[in-house]
Amino acid sequence: MFSFKLGLKNLTRQKRRNILIILVIAFAFSSYLLMDSLMNGMEEMSFDNIKNYDTGNIQVAYPEYWEDREELLLENLIYLNQDMEESIKSADGLLGVSPELRFKANLNNGIDEVAVRGVGISIEQYNQVFATQNYVVEGSMFAPGESKAVIGVSLAELMDLKVNDYITLLVRTKEDTFNTIDIEIAGLVRAPNPMINNGIVFVPLDVARQALNVGNAVSMITLKTVSGDEDKVTKELTDSFKNKNLDLKAYSWKESASSVIALSAAKKGGIGAILSVVLLIGMLGIINNVILSALERTSEIGMMKALGMREWEIVFVFMVEATGIGILGGLTGCLLGYAGVSALVKYGFSIAYIGGDGSQFGIPILDRIYGAWNYPAFSFLFILGVVIAVLSSILPAYWAAKKDPVKAIYHR
C-alpha cells in the first residue's frame, strides 16, 4: 500500500523532532518500567522479609489475642495441649513449627533504657521457620538450653552494646508485677527486615516463660509451609481446630501483613498514576508532532487532495507516521527499560540514598531494594504505547485532512 510506504518515509522527515519525541516517549516508558520493577521488587522483598523474619507463613493464635497482637498483652495466651499439637502436626506441607512468647520489655544497659519487644523462642524450632540465624554478624544464636539473648545491630549500636555484654530486660509478669531478665548477649543480628534489627530481643522461651510467670503458655505458634500453600494449610488448620472444638485460628501471613499489602496496593495505584502521566506524555508528543507535520505539509496535503485522495487516506498517511514514532519510542523505551531493570535486579537501589532504612517508609526492607522482572509490563506498555500513538494521531490527522484543498495548495 503506497500510503503506508509514504507514511514510513515521512518518518525520515524532521529527523531531529522525531528523534526528540521518540526519546521523550522512550524516557517516559523506561521510567515507568524502572518504577514498576522497583515497586514489584519492593513488594516481593517486603513479603519475603515478613514471612522469613516476622510472621512465618502462618500464625496460629486465639482470635482475641490476634486482634490486639500489637499490644503484646499476656492475655489469651495458648496453653499447648495434645489436641492442639495433633491438629497442627496433622496439617500437610508443614516445614516447621515455632512457638513464640511475645512481650513488652524495657532494655536497660545500666545507663539508658529503651522499650523493646521481647520474643521468647525455642531456638531449634525457630530456626526451622525463620532465617534470622543466617544474618548473625557477631557472635551466634544462643544454643538450646543456653540462657543468652540475641539482639539486632541497630539496637546494639543505640544502646552501645556488644556480644558478651549483659543486658537487663524489665518486664511485667502476667500478674502485673515487675520482674527482670538479666541475660548475656550471645549474638548480634543484621537481618534484611529492619524491625528485627531495631527493637527485638530474642531470649530462650523457658527464660521468658519463667520471668513472665505464664507457665507453658505461648502467644502464638508460627508455621513454615511451602510458599503458595499458605491458604490451603490455613483453611485445613482452621477446620481441624473447629472439629476439635478449639477456639484457635490460623492466619496466613497475608493477614499479618495487611498494612504492608495495603501500602503495596497504594503504591500500585501510584504506579497507575505514573502510567497515566507516561501515556499522556506520549499522547501529547504524538499530537504535537502530527499538528506540526500537518502545518509544515499544508501544500502537500493540498496536492494530495488535488490528486483525489480521500480524507481517510490522508489520515492513514499521518497515522502510519505516528504509529512508527510510537513503535520506535516504545521499542527504545523497552530497551532502555530492559537495561535499567537489569541493573536494578543485579545491583539494587540503596534506600540510604533517600535516607535511613525502609522501616522509615513503612516497608520491611533494610537497605537495598532490588528490582523484579515484570515481562508482561514490557509488552503491555509497548502495545498500549502503539495504541495510544494510533488513537492520538486520528484527530489531528483528520484536522489536517479536512483542510480546504484550495487554501492548502496555495498555502505559503
Binding site: K9, G308, M309
Partner: protein, 229 residues
C-alpha cells in the same frame, strides 16, 4: 458534446462582511485535445477559474460539467473521485513530496487510480518519465533535481493516470525562460501525442504563444476568447 462546460459560473468570496466577486459569470466550452491558455492580470480570476474547472472548489452560482456530467453540485467525496480519475494538476511550486524519488512521486498518482499489475504499473511510470525527458533520473529526490526537472516530474505525475484534462496554474512562473520553454514544449508534446486536454494559466507571452486557444480574463469575466493555429 464539449469535454468541459461552464455555464454562468460565479464565485464570490466572503471576506468578513465584504463580498469579493472572483468570477462574475463565466461561460466556457473546452473541446477534447485543446491546448488552452488563460491569461490576464493578477486578480483577474485565473486561479479561481482553474479551481472551478479542477473541482477543487465549487461555484457560488452557475454550473460546471465535465464530459456532460454536472460536477458543480457534487459532494466533497464525489469531487475527490472526479479529480482522482479525470483531472491532472501541475502547480507553480511543483508540490512534489520531498521524501519520494521522481519515480515514486509519479507512482503515487497512478497507485490511486490504476490497479494493474506491478510490472505494468512500473512500465507506465518509467515510460511517462522517459516521455518528459527524465530517463536516468528516476531515483533522484526532488532536492536533487533542477526546477525544470521538478516540473517535468509534476507533469509526468499529472499525465500518468491518463486524465481527461490537465490543469496547470502558472507552471513556468518559477522557471527561467529557457527552462519554461522546455516545460511548455513537453506539455504541448504530450497534448499532441496523448490527446490530453491542457488548460494552463500564465503571464508569460513566450509561453502563451504555444497555445492554440487564448482566453483573456479580466475582472472575473472572459474578455476575449481566440483560437490560434
Amino acid at each position: 458534446m464539449a469535454l468541459l462546460e461552464l455555464n454562468k459560473v460565479k464565485k464570490i468570496y466572503q471576506q468578513g462582511k465584504i463580498e469579493v466577486p472572483a468570477l462574475r459569470g463565466v461561460d466556457l466550452e473546452v473541446e477534447e485535445g485543446e491546448f488552452t491558455t488563460i491569461f490576464g492580470p493578477s486578480g483577474s480570476g485565473k486561479t479561481t477559474l482553474l479551481n472551478m474547472i479542477g473541482c477543487l472548489d465549487t461555484p457560488t452560482e452557475g454550473e460546471v460539467s465535465l464530459s456532460g456530467k454536472k460536477v458543480s453540485d457534487l459532494s466533497k467525496k464525489a469531487l475527490a473521485m472526479v479529480r482522482r480519475f479525470n483531472i491532472g494538476f501541475v502547480f507553480q511550486a511543483y508540490n512534489l513530496i520531498p521524501v519520494l524519488t521522481a519515480y515514486e512521486n509519479v507512482e503515487f498518482a497512478i497507485r490511486l487510480t490504476d490497479h494493474s499489475s506491478e510490472s505494468q504499473m512500473k512500465e507506465k511510470v518509467l515510460k511517462m518519465l522517459a516521455e518528459v525527458g527524465l530517463k536516468g533520473l528516476e531515483s533522484r529526490r526532488p532536492n536533487e533535481l533542477s526546477g525544470g526537472e521538478k516540473q517535468r516530474v509534476a507533469i509526468a505525475r499529472a499525465l500518468v493516470k491518463e486524465p481527461k484534462i490537465v490543469l496547470a496554474d502558472e507552471p513556468t512562473a518559477n522557471l527561467d525562460s529557457e527552462t519554461a520553454a522546455d516545460v511548455v514544449n513537453i506539455m504541448r508534446k504530450m497534448n499532441k501525442e496523448l490527446g490530453t486536454t491542457f488548460i494552463f494559466s500564465t503571464h508569460d507571452p513566450a509561453v502563451m504563444k504555444h497555445a492554440n486557444r487564448f482566453i483573456n480574463l479580466k475582472d472575473g469575466m472572459i474578455f476575449a476568447d481566440e483560437r490560434g493555429k
